[in-house]
Symmetry: C2
């Protein structure tokens, strides 16, 4: 079966987002390298516009709307960063936006989404079916629904993060990518394996929400209850119909880290790298530095997915 | 009277530190610009090696040691970041180092200084004379004393921060620089006024420690008691014999900000720019964004001096 996206899609996405998305920095830390026994290259999507990689996929999708779609608007459901990515992209392209978000999203994400001019509709993430809510909305208003990960344009957009990383640092032995619904890792795996067929691409999930790990082992999509983890960007119940085949074919392994390890990663990022990362943003960093993956002696890409964490909440993690 | 340093000294310093010091990023923030009503360019020395601009001056000084000086070693007194700068530079150059530091320095700074292999000698910043202690040490052991700011090689090294900023962003209307003993601002003023004679260079002090503001107005160095402020890098009692003439001739004005304003700056940096800055690092940012200086409609350089803050302490500021 052919995959939903190929390398050309990612290159085209890179052209669409050029000059609009930030080309985020690749940071290194001698202390991190010492701790990991490896050479780590952190692709810092916490410095992306709206604070996370999600802007890439959202903008790539909206930039391909027809004039009719632009006029009717976009709607989306999201645990937070995709919402902001859609809202900001819609604002930049002059498209109306309505976003279905969990009631308990970090306040900073709710406020930012509204700040970009989008209408926000909240739901209870432990009770309601957000997808059904968003579909209803799109039908009632004729808006195009852009899902947070299971969409070829979104996946291709997210893949530009790995494309930029590999363009900047050259060959890597391993690429570590956080995994919620699989949008980021599927785009990144397609880019990375095309540029460097020998690279090992490894997904990192919260231990409480290892549905992708289970799914990969079972050979079919496994659905779990909404996991309780501080990694709010990876609180997905299942990977996508489009992302799963990519994960099956191109992702070499999936590992997990605990919430305690995410907090340790956030503390390291703040204390030593002077950088704020959100819990989900610590997944790949924790895996690289705290032994979830053997990376000794390797050149390792680590994608930091975002930095959108309430500072009062961050204060608790750092205390 | 001729000043202690000129532009050539800064260019030579830039050559000495090239490939050793980080060329730190210049970051921008649309939100910060909106709040300030200006175009702000943040020169992020929190991403400098050892986490602050002090590495520049320390390395520039130690790189000029004679073989005899290298063998006997270096000693220094410092509220923290200069200590780390000297310790790391000494380690890189294979020079023994002994550092006199306040007992109440942030634990992260004490640990980092020892981590770079330096011997640490502590003192009480409200009782002891650190300069006398360091002089005694240098006499007893034949070590060369490198003061934290009142030294031409240190001043020239710090000036490379402004040199890099102006090389990268071009002409600026105003440059805001934090001010403790005056090492950073004197180096930066010499670089900035040479490259752009019309630029306004403004120093920013904590309101509790406005000795430089008083000194500039009085036309002579005014000594104050050790100020109680969270800006531990600007807890100096007086500016230097070498830095003061530069401040008199090349610094256009000196303004002050409160500790509450520094905390607001640290919160903005963490929440919106995903960046950890130390309280002293917030001086210029607070001045630019909270009205201490009129920068409306201008292109403004803002030097973020460092990011070395205990994360437990940072947690309190962010809570």
């Amino acid at each position: 079966m052919s995959l939903a996206i190929n390398f050309d899609d990612i290159q085209l996405a890179a052209q669409r987002i050029k000059g609009v998305a930030n080309r985020t920095p690749v940071l290194t830390s001698r202390t991190a390298n010492g701790q990991a026994g490896a050479e780590l290259f952190f692709k810092c999507e916490n410095y992306q516009r709206m604070g996370a990689f999600k802007f890439r996929g959202a903008y790539n999708a909206l930039a391909q709307f027809t004039p009719e779609q632009r006029k009717a608007g976009v709607c989306a459901f999201s645990s937070g960063n995709h919402a902001q990515g859609i809202a900001l992209s819609a604002q930049l392209l002059g498209i109306p936006a309505a976003i279905v978000m969990p009631l308990d999203s970090p306040a900073i994400k709710l406020a930012a989404t509204r700040g970009y001019g989008a209408e926000v509709i909240t739901y209870d993430r432990y009770k309601d079916d957000r997808e059904a809510l968003a579909k209803q909305l799109s039908q009632e208003r004729g808006m195009t629904l852009i899902p947070p990960y299971d969409h070829a344009h979104v996946m291709a957009g997210q893949g530009t993060a790995a494309l930029e990383l590999l363009e900047e640092v050259g060959q890597l032995d391993t690429l570590l990518v956080c995994l919620g619904g699989g949008g980021l890792i599927s785009g990144c795996a397609v880019a990375a394996k095309h540029l460097n067929p020998k690279i090992r691409v490894i997904g990192v999930e919260p231990v409480a929400g290892n549905d992708a790990q289970q799914s990969k082992r079972a050979g079919k999509i496994i659905k779990i209850n909404t996991p309780k983890t501080i990694a709010d960007g990876a609180q997905t119940q299942f990977v996508g119909q489009l992302t799963f085949p990519v994960i099956q074919e191109l992702v070499d392994d999936i590992v997990t880290v605990s919430d305690a390890q995410l907090i340790e990663a956030m503390r390291f990022a703040a204390g030593r790298m002077k950088m704020v990362i959100e819990p989900t943003g610590g997944l790949a960093m924790a895996a690289a530095m705290q032994g979830a993956v053997d990376v000794k002696g390797q050149r390792v890409g680590v994608i930091i997915s975002g930095g959108n964490v309430d500072i009062a909440q961050l204060a608790k993690y750092l205390a």
